[in-house]
């Protein structure tokens, strides 16, 4: 019981820190300019995708190499809703796109959680590539390699729309706060999930499957639900991404994009709650600047990835928190 009392204060501290970060993020756009704001939106969206992905990798211990599928499903849902149903409202995109992403992840998850480790990875990879090749081949539905264009949506049930003069500037600034709000909600939901009994059960399964089974946990069911939640979060990221990008192509379904999601999670650190958030934002900057700096940006990213796995396997957040723990030990030796 004493543990509960002493853990109240760090928790409060954490919430205060999160609130401060959120306020800082909200105050940022006027200072950093339009281009940086746009980049930051991409970063926040990547953070949502990685946050969802990490529920599987960090908390359930399953490495998916097929999360591009859910990102792509989200993106293409929006494109279809606009083209075939003429829907322009962001809220409707989310309301309709989320169940689509959830259904797809439920279906994929149902198949994939029958395996773990390497076979799980290959299975997710194979299934995501089914979607990729279908998108590629059925070009009269999906636009093929040209992809589908997506116009700027209206926000807040059509109250805010972006046409006329300075439309792009207003869209970026408005959309930043929109995505920031969704991001904050996602973080809170994910926080609640991983700290709930359900989240604890996932971690128990990750650490020792046999023991968890003896405790009466229905392992496959838990993994399936985790997969579903994880895919839905990544799908939401796809939904948010496409109006900003203005175009969706089969590239977002192709498996190297899944690799990027894994990469960003690892960059931040998958044994941390905040790791994938930091990783998603950092990766976006890293990739953008690498692409701008050199034609051989893949090489740069590859080298970073190899070094990361070698030297910082717990990611940036993991390394910082390890350093912080060490410092605290030095200050007051037990």
């Amino acid at each position: 019981m004493t543990a509960d009392v002493s853990s109240v204060q760090p928790k409060l501290l954490l919430f205060a820190a999160a609130a401060v970060v959120l306020i800082l993020l909200a105050l940022l756009p006027p200072f950093i300019g339009l281009y940086q704001t746009q980049l930051l939106i991409y970063g926040l969206i990547a953070a949502i995708a990685a946050l969802g992905f990490n529920l599987l990798l960090g908390y359930t211990g399953l490495l998916s190499f097929g999360h591009s599928a859910f990102f792509g499903i989200g993106a293409y849902s929006v494109a279809f809703l606009l083209r075939d149903a003429g829907i322009r409202s962001m809220e409707l995109y989310i309301l309709i796109g989320l169940p689509v992403a959830a259904l797809t992840s439920a279906l994929f998850g149902y198949i994939c959680v029958r395996h773990t480790r390497i076979f799980f990875g290959i299975l997710t990879l194979a299934l995501s590539q089914v979607l990729w090749t279908l998108t590629y081949k059925f070009f009269w539905v999906t636009g093929g390699s040209d992809g589908l264009r997506v116009a700027r949506p209206t926000l807040l049930a059509g109250m805010v729309s972006f046409t006329g003069r300075d439309a792009f500037q207003r869209f970026i600034n408005g959309y930043y706060y929109y995505v920031l709000a969704v991001f904050a909600i996602c973080v809170v939901i994910m926080w609640v999930i991983v700290h709930s009994p359900f989240g604890k059960a996932l971690q128990a399964i990750r650490d020792n499957e046999t023991r968890a089974a003896f405790l009466g946990l229905r392992i496959r069911r838990f993994r399936w639900v985790a997969f579903l939640i994880s895919g839905t979060f990544t799908g939401l990221a796809g939904i948010l991404w496409v109006p900003l990008n203005g175009l969706t192509t089969p590239e977002v379904l192709y498996w190297p994009f899944s690799g990027e999601i894994v990469f960003m999670t690892l960059l931040g650190g998958f044994r941390n709650f905040t790791g994938p958030i930091v990783g998603g934002i950092l990766f976006t900057y890293l990739k953008t600047y690498a692409v701008a700096a050199t034609e051989y940006w893949q090489l740069l990213l590859g080298v970073v990835l190899v070094l990361l796995v070698m030297l910082l396997p717990t990611g940036i957040v993991g390394a910082i928190s390890a350093a912080a723990t060490k410092l605290r030990w030095k200050e007051k030796p037990a």
């Binding site: 299975l123 194979a126 279908l134 590859g302 190899v306 070698m310």
Partner: protein, 291 residues
């Protein structure tokens, strides 16, 4: 009738190349327990090196018949590349699978750009090799003689690999290491050497696959990434780490693909991935896998 023969030959041609890639992937996994995501890129390197060498040789006026010899040279270059890269992987043998996957994924990103750096983004071709051999007639249809050579190389590769693994002392060492690395090491085997050799052979096979296919098509960026997924499908169907599995898997994938291009071109690749998924569900270890 002759169309059917040509389609069967096409499937066998395709199966030969796919077998070489998949067998290398499977061998590396079987011995080293690493799923090498950069494996497809080794295949691409083989194609690029061979196409480049053939282009150089033609420019220097080497008779086209001699350019055949450049195919094993291209494959050998990939084996050397593998020997150079293997030490990089050593720290990861004892680490979790996630890290191994990621490190080879990083390797893939690096190698793809190295290819682009060395040969630019343009496709490279090695037509002279293909033009050396006359075409063969089947009924009213003609078929390139070179494709028959590729099938022969695929068959020779399968027999050669089988002979090395099951009929030589080195094969015994490979299999012993694959079954129990620590026991093999305790019995005095130089496990490190076995690892380098296995990785080099695996890379050689991937490089050979690239080297023999490049005269019939061009070497393009991204060909390795596509090939890797197909090789995955093959080893998943056949069983990771199994030689017979790679052979049967390559045949299944090639025949389904040939039929697919003929009858259901839109979903041809999707069907392959679905077959892989179904096999994983019904028999996770693949048709011939044990582990």
């Amino acid at each position: 009738m002759s169309i059917l023969i040509i389609q069967i030959l096409n499937s066998l041609f395709y199966a030969s190349v796919l077998f070489l890639i998949a067998a290398g992937l499977s061998l590396i996994f079987g011995v080293m327990r690493i799923v090498n995501m950069a494996h497809g890129t080794f295949y691409a390197v083989g194609a690029f090196v061979t196409a480049w060498l053939v282009g150089r040789a033609s420019a220097l006026g080497v008779p086209a018949g001699w350019t055949f010899l450049l195919i094993p040279v291209g494959a050998g270059a990939v084996a050397l590349l593998g020997i150079a890269i293997e030490p990089l992987l050593r720290p990861f043998y004892r680490r979790a699978e996630e890290y191994q996957l990621l490190v080879t994924f990083g390797l893939l990103l690096i190698l793809e750009d190295v290819i682009r750096f060395l040969w630019g983004g343009l496709p490279l071709s090695a037509d002279p090799v293909m033009d050396v051999l006359p075409s063969v007639r089947f009924g009213g249809l003609i078929y390139p003689g070179y494709n028959l050579v590729v099938i022969a190389i695929g068959v020779a590769g399968a027999i050669g690999l089988w002979a090395v693994i099951y009929r030589t002392k080195f094969g015994v060492m490979l299999r012993a290491t694959s079954q129990d690395r620590r026991m093999a090491s305790a019995l005095g085997l130089n496990v490190g050497l076995v690892y380098v050799s296995a990785f080099a052979i695996g890379c050689f096979m991937a490089g050979l696959g690239g080297a023999i296919i490049v005269p019939t098509q061009t070497a393009v960026l991204g060909m390795g990434i596509d090939a890797l997924i197909l090789a995955f499908v093959v080893v998943v169907i056949g069983g990771l780490g199994s030689l017979q599995g790679a052979l049967v898997g390559a045949l299944i994938v090639s025949f389904v693909r040939t039929a697919g291009i003929q009858f259901f071109p839109e979903v041809e690749l999707a069907v392959l991935y679905l077959i892989a998924a179904v096999v994983l569900l019904v028999k996770p270890t693949g048709l011939f896998g044990t582990a």
